[in-house]
């Protein structure tokens, strides 16, 4: 019999700790979850992503302040950094991915997780973070010659910015595959991506993980 608490219960406790700034307890929950034979993918999808969505919903319904939301995000980012040594010990391939949020987009936890999933698969991830100016991304890409570029967009109304970014990136690097993800595409927007060659959308961590082998170049 499995005596472990259900993921919903763990998530609820995790959210409570995050929103009250209890970093140590939040971190302990994550490590305990992994020690119960849950994979990193399960951690990302079942615990972190669901907790973040819950926190977004709590803000939407005016149950928490923006400050509490930011506090929770900051703690999650700290925990992801604590986990990095467990991820980075994987034997490396000679593959590089460059990851960033589109310009004006500040929600960077999702793309940070994608960065870590590539690391788990032995890739070298170069994670530029939130609100990355297109020209800077292109300049950096020229310096490292990535095999893939990954972009994240959480808010739908950044779609024109993403389209503009794709035009500029494709102009400089027509052959490099670009992967796209983010909550912004929940209800649509994919037809923009279809205009470009070698641009692929992934709905979640599982899809990315299962496709990485096919992305081997």
């Amino acid at each position: 019999m499995d005596n472990h608490p259900k993921v919903e219960e763990i998530s609820e406790e995790f959210v409570n700790y995050l929103l009250t700034g209890r970093k140590k307890e939040s971190s302990a929950i994550i490590f305990q979850f992994l020690n119960q034979n849950n994979s990193f993918l399960e951690l990302y999808e079942k615990l972190i992503k669901k907790s973040l969505y819950k926190i977004g919903e709590l803000w939407e319904y005016n149950k928490i302040t923006v400050a509490a939301e930011h506090l929770a995000s900051a703690i999650i980012e700290t925990i992801l950094n604590e986990l990095y040594p467990k991820i980075a010990k994987t034997e490396k391939q000679n593959k590089k991915i460059l990851l960033a949020c589109v310009e004006n987009e500040f929600h960077q936890i999702g793309i940070k997780i994608i960065s870590d999933i590539f690391e788990l698969n032995g890739w070298n991830s170069f994670f530029l973070g939130a609100n990355t100016p297109t020209n800077e991304l292109i300049r950096f890409a020229k310096s490292i010659n990535p095999d893939i570029i990954g972009l994240s967009m959480s808010i739908y109304f950044h779609l024109p910015v993403l389209e503009n970014m794709l035009l500029k990136i494709k102009d400089e690097f027509p052959e490099i595959p670009i992967i796209i993800g983010g909550q912004a595409f929940r209800y649509g927007g994919l037809e923009i991506l279809a205009k470009f060659n070698n641009v692929f959308y992934f709905a979640d961590s599982y899809e990315i993980y299962n496709s990485i082998k096919n992305l081997n170049l």
């Binding site: 919903e57 803000w59 319904y61 739908y156 950044h158 209800y187 927007g189 037809e191």
Partner: protein
């Protein structure tokens, strides 16, 4: 009438031309500046948006222009409906009244008439009229969601 009704009615809106979408996007700064100016000058502002919500209102105006820029360039009725519903839920739960949308949309229409070319105005106006006509339904559907959420937290 429900969300499906809103999506069906939104499907009747026409995709605007690329020229109009670009004009709207290129004039975004002046549009945002004007809506803020008009709304901030209202003596009844607090009754429309609640207490200490001026920054949130300004965010909404900037986001509104970004969103409309996206939606008129790549029109998808479901995204239009889902996003407006989200805005109603989030802002109403933070103290914005239904009358805020009525006042805001009236002001947007005046601003668009003044600052857009006739052709661009005529192409975009149906989107604003659609939002205006459907304020009561958006308010009702967002209230239903808010009530549901409240009862979930009580149990």
């Amino acid at each position: 009438m429900d969300k499906e009704y809103l999506i069906k009615s939104a499907e009747k809106l026409n995709q605007v031309s690329e020229k109009t979408a670009n004009e709207y996007q290129n004039k975004r700064d002046i549009l945002i500046s004007k809506i803020n100016e008009i709304m901030l000058s209202r003596p009844d502002l607090e009754s429309l948006i609640g207490i200490e919500n001026i920054n949130m209102m300004k965010d909404n105006h900037a986001n509104h222009v970004r969103f409309i820029s996206s939606i008129i360039k790549n029109f998808e009725p479901e995204i239009l409906v889902e996003t407006v519903l989200w805005v109603f839920r989030a802002y109403r739960s933070h103290g914005f009244s239904t009358n805020y949308w009525a006042s805001q949309l009236n002001s947007w229409i005046e601003i668009l008439k003044t600052h857009l070319s006739d052709n661009a105005y005529n192409e975009i106006l149906p989107f604003y009229e659609w939002m205006q006509v459907n304020i009561p339904l958006f308010a009702k559907l967002s209230d239903d969601e808010l009530d549901k959420n409240l009862s979930q937290h009580k149990t």
